[in-house]
Structures are given as C-alpha cells and as structure tokens.
Symmetry: C2
C-alpha cells in the first residue's frame, strides 16, 4: 500500500515486449537511481510520441506531419511502391537496402479471425493511390507466413488492376546460411527459384 507508484511502474514496464516481472523490476530500480533524469526523459518521450505520431495520409507510415519524410522527399521516386506489413519492416528495408522508391504500410496482415480485413489494411486507400498515381512496379514485401502470403495475393490483385508490374521479395537460403541447416520449404523455394549465373 505504501509503494503503489513503484508497483505501478513495474506493471507498466511489463507492457513492453519481451519484458517479464524480473526484468521490469530491474528496469524500475535502475530508473529510480540517482537524479531520475532517465525516467523523466522516457516519460516525456512516451507522452510526445503517443500524442504527436500519426500516420502519413499517403503511405500510412508513422510521421508527425500530414505526409512523411519519404513521401515528400524530392530524392525519392514515386515510380515504385513497396508494400510492407508494418513500420518496423519499412525501417528494416530502409536500413538494409538502397531502395529509393515510396512505401505503403498495411499496419497488419489479412487475418479474418482477428477481425483484420481489407478495410483495416487500407487496401481501398492503396487502390486509390495506384489509380491516382500510376506506378510502374509494386514490390510486395509482406512476411513469408500464411497470412502474409494471403495478404500478398490480395495486394497483387489490386496492383495488377492498377496496371503495375508486381514483384515479390526473393525467398531462398539466407546469406551465410548452410544448406544442411536450412528448412525444407526454404530449400525447395531456393531450388525452384534458381537463377542463371
């Protein structure tokens, strides 16, 4: 009863992904040490992010203005559009590849059981975007899971209706992986999709 604030802090930290009771306790005690500047800074950052971050009205990526930095950048081409499941995937592609086109963020994948249908993924908005701004190539970068594949098919139909060429990220053996340890499906994919040297 005397330590409600500490208990509530531990419970709130448990909301973070991958953080259980023990880790939350360690974090709480670390944040309470000294001047508590970290706790205050994190509190402010969370507040600001929750209030200010919204979706780009064009590509649904996280941003603070009406349009995100990628959609407004003059150095990026609207000729290609890469469709990703969530902003984290966009981030990963931005950091790993030299892609200079635009994106469209679904914020999820088709999953009727969880109530996620075309409306939740903004597929109508995607169709409008493709109708208003014809693009030459739509790169589908959904995850290679069952729901991700279903979503990819749906997006491909919309893109083809818009007259764009549709491509999909290559599946195969991870760089640095060994044949022996690659799972069967991946190996079958890699064999079926072999390229001329």
């Amino acid at each position: 009863m005397n330590n409600d604030a500490l208990e509530e802090l531990i419970e709130s930290l448990k909301l973070l992904p991958g953080v259980g009771r023990k880790t939350a306790q360690r974090m709480a005690f670390a944040l309470l040490e000294g001047e508590r500047l970290s706790a205050r800074r994190l509190s402010r950052a969370l507040q600001a992010a929750a209030e200010r971050i919204r979706r780009c009205s064009r590509c649904r990526n996280y941003c603070e203005a009406d349009l995100c930095a990628i959609c407004t950048s003059p150095q990026r081409s609207a000729e290609t559009l890469c469709v990703v499941e969530n902003p984290a995937d966009l981030h990963a592609l931005e950091q790993a590849t030299g892609y200079r086109g635009h994106y469209f963020v679904l914020h999820g994948r088709l999953s009727p059981l969880d109530g996620v249908g075309p409306a939740e993924l903004g597929l109508a908005q995607l169709a409008d975007l493709l109708a208003d701004n014809p693009v030459s190539e739509v790169v589908i970068a959904t995850n290679p899971t069952v729901e991700g594949e279903a979503t990819a098919h749906f997006v491909a139909e919309i893109a083809q209706a818009g007259g764009a060429q549709v491509t999909r990220l290559a599946h195969g053996i991870p760089v640095g992986g060994e044949l022996e340890y690659v799972d069967r499906q991946t190996l079958a994919h890699a064999f079926g999709g072999r390229l001329k040297l």
Copy 2:
C-alpha cells in the same frame, strides 16, 4: 527531421538497462500500435514514480510516505536490522526469505574511485539509528564482491560499536549446484564454513 518523436522515443528506451538499439526499436513500434494506451500508462507511471518515490527517513528504502511500509509495520520487529546494498536486494530478500525484521539500504557500496564513501551510503545515519534503537543483531547482506566485502567490514565496525551482534549471509555452494562446476573460491568458502550435521 520528420520523425523526431519516434527517434527520441527510441533513444529514451535505450536508457533502460539491457536495451540496445534493436530492442528499443521493437519496443517503440509495439508501443505505437493501436490506441497507445500502454505508452500513455507507462508515461504516467514513470512521471509518478520519479516525482513521488523517495527514501524512507529511517531505513532509506524506497517509499512514498516519510516512513516505509516495513518500518511502520507492527508485525515486524526492530530487534534485527538487515543491511543491503540497494532496494532490489531488499526486494529479493523479501521474496525469498521469511525475514520479519527491519532493513537499512545503503544505495551503493564503498567505492572511493567512484566517489562513493561513507557519507553517500548513509553510514552516519546507520550509526545514529543503532545508537537510538539498540538492536540485538545486524545481518550484513552486501554482495560478495571486493567492494561489497569492504562495505561489510565498515558496516560491521559501526554495528559492533552499537553493541549489536553482527552476522553475514552464508557463502557456499548454491542449492542445486554441483561441486564439480562450483568455482574454487566458493568451494573453499563452503569447506571452511562446513556445519555439523
């Protein structure tokens, strides 16, 4: 420039112990999903904890009032006093043992190179506490590190000056540990401190 709030959120999450760039990103994206109730709740909890949690004026444990729940509990005896390095250690002892005495939290360990001396650890306050409220036993529960041992010697002197019996947590083989894998020092301690069956 367009996503300062997200970048600041990731940087702030990196202040948590054990959280690097990648984990911070994953946490930030998870917090931004949906209605963002978790982000707001964590923000409020951090703010409240930073403002309201202070040190018990008697034992220096974290609490929100002048005295902590342990110091004010009628079910706990002030006859024994357990000296710990930090509130996390106190928490661990509370959860693992049936100890019903009082505590004294040092908030650190003697470490002259880091500027941590007797004043920072509240050792004068501990001496006053022992002078005003004679206790029969002082249990020293500092960590078995070099600094922890030095701190233990210091605390033991103060406690002996106060006329209390001084005890130290037992060192030995961890329960469930195997002799073969226990380090030499621990094994030597366990052998030297063997008990009659």
